[in-house]
């Protein structure tokens, strides 16, 4: 990808014996890109490397044409919103934004106008002069995002901006992120451990697991990739032996395990969509009576394990 704004090649970072990133490769272009992975997968390590707060042990990272470690000049073009709480509790939201602007070389009337604009954009005008210590989680997230926008950077790095927020705040923040790209033209790199959240913002994702990029591209491609890997489905009910006979001939069936009492069965299937589509017919033909059917692989962790080949 020639227009990559972020390029990582064999990037590794470890903290003592703990690996943060391990031979991580990714190219990120313009637009909104989601970095998705379970907690502890290395997302925050990648973000910290991108702003140069930590140094890579091995490999190469280029952000907007700069190698971040020891070169903060490019941070004029980057807004960073970390996943942790770093806001000073004894400062007002407005003062924090003024401080952020000052650190970006802004001052005077220009800064005051910008702060007012941002407070309006994130819906915090009314609470701007209260101490941050009294803010809710959602309000803090809004101020953090506003702080990353103060210098109007072309690129935003938002690390888990929806973490710990309630559904209403989450929806508002998602709308805000969408508008930052669609209306204000910012490129956004956003991390989350919830694939669904990222899917609502963008089609372009990178999946990260145990410090490695296990898949990158369009969400539809990744969903296709995911469906190549076997999913385990638990089926409970009566007449499962007959159902097993029907299933064993299907092209998507990888394995079947019947419980000794024949009351449940675990089916391992490679194309879950086909499996679920055909299931009503198969049940009817076999005369089985199902009481429950559930996938063991609904959690993201399992999907990542598949993709990582664990």
């Amino acid at each position: 990808m020639s227009d990559a704004i972020i390029l990582a090649r064999e990037l590794s970072k470890w903290y003592g014996k703990v690996i943060g990133l391990n031979s991580f490769n990714i190219e990120i272009g313009k637009g909104i890109t989601g970095i998705v992975g379970p907690n502890g997968s290395g997302k925050s390590t990648f973000f910290k490397l991108m702003i140069g707060s930590i140094k890579p042990n091995v490999g190469e990272l280029v952000v907007m044409g700069h190698r971040p470690w020891r070169d903060p000049s490019y941070l004029r073009e980057v807004g960073f919103c970390p996943d942790y709480d770093f806001l000073p509790s004894d400062t007002t939201g407005r003062d924090y934004l003024r401080f952020s602007g000052g650190m970006q070389g802004m001052e005077g009337a220009k800064l005051s106008t910008r702060v007012d604009e941002l407070l309006k954009l994130v819906g915090m005008t009314r609470d701007a002069d209260r101490n941050i210590g009294g803010y809710s989680k959602g309000m803090k997230q809004r101020i953090k995002i506003a702080g990353s926008l103060v210098h109007d950077p072309p690129m935003l790095l938002l690390d888990e901006p929806f973490s710990g927020t309630d559904p209403m705040v989450r929806r508002d923040l998602m709308d805000l992120v969408k508008s930052l790209h669609h209306e204000h033209g910012h490129d956004v790199i956003i991390s989350s451990h919830v694939l669904h959240d990222v899917e609502r913002l963008t089609n372009s994702v990178g999946l990260i697991y145990r410090g490695r990029a296990v898949a990158t591209g369009e969400i539809s491609e990744i969903r296709g990739l995911m469906s190549k890997y076997p999913h385990r489905i638990i089926i409970e009910g009566k007449g499962l032996m007959e159902l097993a006979k029907q299933l064993i001939d299907r092209p998507y069936t990888v394995s079947l395990h019947l419980a000794p009492d024949r009351s449940s069965m675990t089916a391992e299937v490679s194309m879950p969509e086909d499996f679920f589509n055909e299931m009503p017919d198969l049940v009817q033909r076999s005369g089985s009576e199902l009481t429950q059917m559930r996938s063991l692989d609904d959690d993201l962790e399992s999907v990542f394990k598949y993709l990582a080949g664990d």
């Binding site: 707060s53 020891r70 004029r76 770093f86 650190m103 070389g105």
Partner: protein
């Protein structure tokens, strides 16, 4: 390097961090110290035979020898370290300013806040003593002389303890050992070994500018002491600034 951005950034840090240091909860401790010093010096004044000599002696031992390094340690050792530990440093390190420039912002904020607090405590003690003993022009001269020495000391000790805060995870413990054992004990030992303390060099300057008290009897070359203090301050600042630049903040 964009000079304007750096100047505005450092100015922003100065305004924000000086205010933070002066207005945080430790301000109460500073007031208590000032009240305690005023009580001690006020009481000493009631027993004093030679006001100027004893007033100077008290300001030298209480302010210069004791409070200057201790307050510099408390504020300097914890300043950057606290910001790193509670991660409020994020806004600073994600700005386009070179880390060494931001270190200057921290350093100057510390020097200003420390000097202000030391001068307030000094003034409280001085006022209590000379209101009882008798205020005159020489007493005002003493106040000004010790104010200058404390400001010089704030520059030197800030560079030491701020750097210590970057280099060491628990700077207070090592700082206390340094302040009490090296500066306090070794610094008071007669002979050449005391020359290797910052305090001795400051007091040699004091011998030149203070008009009364035991400090005037200290022997030493003023120019050499001044040069030593400048070199130590700059060297420690540079050490701290480069250590801060290379510090990973996970």
């Amino acid at each position: 390097m964009n000079v304007d951005v750096n100047i505005i950034g450092v100015r922003t840090m100065l305004w924000s961090f000086t205010r933070k240091l002066l207005l945080n909860k430790r301000w109460i401790v500073v007031l208590l110290i000032a009240a305690f010093l005023a009580a001690v010096m006020g009481y000493a004044a009631t027993l004093s035979d030679d006001g100027l000599y004893e007033g100077s002696d008290l300001m030298s031992s209480l302010m210069l020898t004791f409070l200057l390094p201790i307050m510099a340690l408390i504020y300097g050792g914890s300043m950057l370290r606290n910001d790193m530990d509670d991660r409020s440093i994020t806004t600073v390190i994600s700005s386009p300013l070179d880390r060494r420039v931001t270190y200057l912002g921290y350093y100057l904020s510390l020097v200003i806040a420390l000097t202000v607090m030391l001068l307030i405590v000094l003034f409280a003690g001085w006022l209590a003593f000379f209101l009882i003993d008798g205020m005159n022009g020489e007493a005002v001269g003493l106040l000004l002389s010790y104010s200058v020495l404390l400001a010089i000391g704030a520059f030197v000790y800030s560079s030491l303890f701020l750097a210590m805060g970057v280099l060491i995870r628990q700077p207070i413990y090592l700082g206390l050992i340094y302040a009490f054992v090296w500066e306090g004990f070794i610094g008071s030992v007669p002979g050449a070994i005391g020359d290797y303390t910052i305090m001795r060099q400051i007091k040699v300057l004091g011998a030149e500018i203070v008009s009364e008290g035991p400090i005037t009897g200290l022997e030493g070359d003023v120019m050499i002491s001044a040069a030593v203090l400048v070199i130590v301050t700059v060297a420690l600042f540079v050490l701290g600034a480069f250590a801060f630049r290379d510090k990973e903040m996970p």
